[in-house]
């Protein structure tokens, strides 16, 4: 059964079963990816899959269910499960489906030609990157993974109130991950990697740039050692700052706020960060992978300033949290794939870039640590309290210069305090995911080492 046919049968049977309003959220994706190891193809994946989430109002409550199998048997499953799920719900807040926004911005995120990139080209690219990396530096012990891929995906939301939203995304990427050693017999191994992507064409990716950056990332960590435990000025390079921001992005969700999982509760209109900090969610940016014209409820997306010059202006809302708070939805309804309920999430959240380069920030640091990698983010951060304690890799800075690599340290602090103590903001934002930060420098954080 194709999706249109499935939807019609599902809605017809759903009406008979007592659902007054119904919606499907259908997503599917295709990708081809290749990785090589030691001059040979190591893995080659060709995948295609999709799934459908159903939700419907029955007895005044919204029941959810999902399936990856589009057949008649699944229609019974979806309706039965959605019905019994609705029945046990105890939250009294009414939910309703949405007929759609009057106007949607056009966001160009799809090129049909991208998925047709010849697999041979992906294989050649992965082999080329491996060669370049191995030839670039004799200390590269092994290219653990050199990979290339193309993918595309689509989302379709249709409901009984007339909503019909459809979008497609496509992208290409190349990545490398290398192991470096000082010599064959050396005990110490370091790792590093890099990746780049294009939303237009696989040819646009600078393969040599990816390979050489991956090599540089690894070999520059050779000879790393710890530092004495102390408080240090810390520079989070853009990628490390981005992973930190991602870990705490949920604090801006009105759902987290409402349920008591965000310390920003009750702080609307207040100064919650330094006056140099602005945080924006902009799903309409050009050439950014997570841009989109509508959210998971079919609301037209728009740019929102969450924090402006340090002041908290809004939380992120879907229609339900907005109604509860007596505001308009910010069109931040999200679904964790096609399985979950409608929740709240950012689309393309970023800290507004500053005007300084990373090298200038390093130059003006008398003594400090530049952090390029944070580890254990899933366990070492607490979004509720804002606290973090994370293993880190980076470089020691003395008199404005990098003097040596640093490992076996942890850096600890609190995200909310951090937002109030940022001394310098880089202009080096790299929009590669749904969260982006430029390089950030803070005056002091606790570092554990020797």
């Amino acid at each position: 059964m194709n999706i249109e046919e499935f939807q019609k049968v599902l809605f017809a049977q759903g009406r008979e079963a007592g659902f007054t309003e119904m919606e499907i959220y259908y997503a599917n994706g295709r990708s081809t990816s290749v990785s090589v190891l030691k001059g040979e193809i190591d893995a080659y994946n060709i995948v295609e899959s999709g799934g459908l989430s159903f939700r419907g109002l029955i007895g005044g409550k919204m029941g959810y269910s999902s399936t990856e199998r589009l057949d008649y048997e699944s229609i019974d499953y979806l309706l039965d499960e959605a019905g019994s799920n609705a029945e046990v719900l105890e939250n009294e807040e009414p939910e309703e489906l949405f007929a759609g926004s009057g106007h949607y911005h056009s966001v160009d995120t799809y090129l049909a030609s991208l998925i047709k990139t010849p697999p041979g080209q992906l294989i050649e690219a992965a082999l080329a990157m491996e060669r370049i990396a191995l030839n670039a530096d004799h200390r590269i012990d092994m290219v653990r993974r050199s990979a290339a891929s193309v993918s595309e995906s689509e989302v379709l939301i249709v409901n009984t109130k007339g909503l019909n939203c459809h979008r497609k995304h496509s992208s290409a990427s190349a990545s490398i991950y290398v192991l470096a050693k000082e010599s064959k017999d050396a005990k110490e191994t370091v790792t590093g990697g890099w990746f780049d992507f294009s939303l237009r064409s696989f040819d646009d990716i600078d393969l040599e740039g990816v390979a050489l950056t991956g090599v540089r990332e690894a070999v520059s960590k050779l000879g790393a050692s710890t530092v004495p435990s102390d408080n240090y000025p810390i520079i989070f390079r853009n990628d490390a700052a981005t992973s930190l921001l991602s870990s705490f992005a949920s604090v801006f969700s009105a759902e987290s706020v409402d349920k008591g999982f965000s310390r920003l509760k009750g702080k609307l209109g207040e100064q919650v960060a330094g006056s140099n900090i602005s945080i924006i969610d902009d799903p309409l940016m050009e050439n950014v992978p997570s841009s989109k014209a509508f959210d998971a409820e079919g609301s037209a997306t728009a740019r929102h300033e969450l924090i402006k010059d340090g002041r908290l202006l809004t939380f992120l809302h879907n229609r339900k949290t907005a109604r509860k708070a007596g505001v308009q939805s910010t069109a931040n309804a999200a679904k964790g794939g096609y399985k979950g309920m409608v929740e709240v999430s950012h689309h393309n959240l970023y800290i507004a870039p500053g005007t300084t380069s990373l090298s200038e920030i390093i130059r003006e640091t008398e003594r400090g640590i530049l952090i390029v990698e944070l580890q254990g983010l899933h366990a070492g951060t607490n979004a509720t309290s804002g606290s973090f304690s994370l293993a880190a890799i980076g470089y020691l800075i003395e008199h404005g210069e990098i003097v040596r690599p640093v490992n076996q340290i942890t850096v600890s602090g609190n995200f909310f305090e951090l937002l109030n103590g940022i001394e310098r903001i880089g202009y080096d934002s790299r929009f590669i995911g749904s969260c982006t930060s430029p390089t950030l420098k803070v005056s002091s954080l606790s570092v554990s080492g020797a």
Partner: protein
Amino acid sequence: MLQEQVIYRVLTAALETGADFAEIFAEDKTSGRLEMVGGTLESSLSGRDYGVGIRILRENFSVYAYTNDSSEQNLIATARSAAAAIRGGAAGSRVMDLRRTVIDHRHVIGIMPDSSQKKRNIELMRRAHSTAAAYDPSIAQTKIHATNQLQNVLIANTEGLLVQDMRVYTRLGISAVAEDGDQKQSGFSGPGAYAGHEFLESLDIEEHARKASRIAVTMVKAAYAPSGRLPVIIDNGFGGVLFHEACGHGLESTAVAPGSSVFAGKIGEQVASPLVTAVDDGTILNAWGSLNIDDEGAKTQRNVLIENGILKGYLIDRMGSRRMGLPSTGSGRRQSYKFAPASRMNNTFICNGASTREEIIANTEYGIYAKSMGGGSVNTATSDFNFAVQEAYIIRNGKIAEPVKGATLIGKGIDCLSKIDMVGNNLEHGQGMCGSVSGSLPVNCGQPTIRVSEMTVGGRKGE
């Protein structure tokens, strides 16, 4: 799930371009998740995952493809498009004799999960909420979830294997948040088993609820952990995540076979303190990480990894077996049909030693007592690991003193294992989800109380 005739034809198509092995993994999985926030049932979700993964090997080259459309026509087309990547030579002409193997379901499932248990589960969840909320006035919020999963798999390959298995998982997760002024801290307890609804009925729910609240309340009033290198006592149960991260991942053939693990080539060598014997056992009855057969159809087994500090073995899947020339250890696992299998842990633990917890604490003048662990991660190439401590205390003069929060432990695998200088006699297992190349999987991490003579503790100095 798939007819033998269809399987035969798909596997034949997969061999057309010269592959030496092909495999089908079909999966039909239903799952349910209930979530209660502050005592109110906020969400109830049900879903059905369904798909087929086709893997084709020629020597060390692997092609993986998957699809949700299990029609014969589509499966053959998928097999052919995957086979097109194998440019080996002559088509395989072997005659497959698919011998349906009936496996011994050793793990007895009492009550199969289905939606009729929703209301009873909600009652049990409410008990967890009431106990957690009543524990202390500072408990400001609770979040309870109950999940169940029924995964039916069919695995067939060109060596003639045809086997079906059913995996049933049940888990309860209890989070409590304590507030003290501007401070918020959370605690968690998440018991789970390879079992049906009877697991929740037999669980001491109140004990788990009190544990989650105790952690939150203790931590919200705690000062920050000190920084630096200290002796660390890691308590029994989920504390075994230390071994899981510091060593377990580095013993998986996915890392060992290409030589990108610090444990590669070290069989027979001393890699840990002589006090350490460590095992990965996929056969423990009804344990969260157990399986009758792995996701390549091989029987799970008890694999001794380290014996008295000497490295004895690795965790090997089919691909690892090809690369390393060693037999599979029944360790090929994948989250779903969307992942090619990889060597993974099941139930990993450090075996009992001779000391009691009390002796270990009494023998420590100053250090950290990590009573309850959070999660962690490792870089297998460097063996740098980290993990978060959920609930920690200072040990002073051989006694447990004040609680401390925000402690992260970091180190290097072999270095840390060699510094284990006391091992307790109170082995227990805890449940976790392990994320890696082949997805997120249920695993047990277990150990008795152990002491590491020196580890880097990442707290916050001067606060």
